[in-house]
Symmetry: C2
């Protein structure tokens, strides 16, 4: 016998749920009707409208979205910020790092990203702040 419970660590979204959440987050200031989401996911994912609607309902159940009744339909709004979910996903990636991989993975992400000069500068500042305070190879010290 086997009880099963998962939820990908804690607040985890499934891949399909991410796709829906991304649409809602993008439209976070007006909020989304189900239709706004499924017209898009129909194009991008080829999903039937009902598929998207099912996922929306589950996201509400799980507390990732709020649904306010408006007319005959609902207005869906994110319950939390995209950033919070992304940071949580980043944390669970970090949790899987092995010895010596972290730097390489962060490097890889940096390479694949188009950061603005401002973002790069901030990152560089952070690196400067941290250099010398860690885990040094510690050969020669005055």
């Amino acid at each position: 016998m086997a009880p099963a419970r998962n939820e990908s660590e804690e607040n985890g979204l499934t891949p399909a749920e991410w796709k829906v959440m991304k649409v809602v987050w993008r439209n976070r200031y007006h909020g989304c009707a189900a239709r706004d989401v499924y017209t898009e996911t129909a194009k991008t994912e080829g999903w039937a409208p009902t598929t998207t609607k099912s996922i929306l309902r589950r996201l509400v159940d799980k507390g990732h979205l709020t649904a306010r009744p408006v007319g005959n339909s609902h207005l869906y709004e994110p319950a939390g910020s995209a950033l919070k979910s992304l940071l949580a996903a980043a944390d669970s990636l970090l949790a899987n790092m092995l010895e010596g991989t972290t730097g390489l993975v962060i490097t890889h992400m940096l390479e694949k990203s188009r950061l603005t000069d401002d973002e790069l500068a901030r990152l560089r500042q952070l690196i400067d702040d941290r250099t010398g305070k860690t885990n040094v190879t510690d050969k020669n010290r005055p």
Copy 2:
């Protein structure tokens, strides 16, 4: 009716699978017997030996591990590098980024990591190389 196939984008590991893979990767040079893995996961996860063995078998089925028969048991070895899987996981994190989040997420990861000075230096070099080549706010240019 509904066919379902998932696999978390492509090569994705489930959370339980990551836990097993991490043990095998850590012992990648000797290889692991099932027992090596389940003594550890029993401690760290509280799993029954059979649970771990099931996951090992599934990982072989999915091609993430190879199993070479040795005596009465098998020697499990990673079919791919940990780094490769981590980079794939990083890519699917990147795929979920929204406008303006990437820098913050990378910053967050950097903050949470203990990189060596060497790694920090490499990262800094990369940042320097990239600064000025992107997405500039583009106000003043000589």
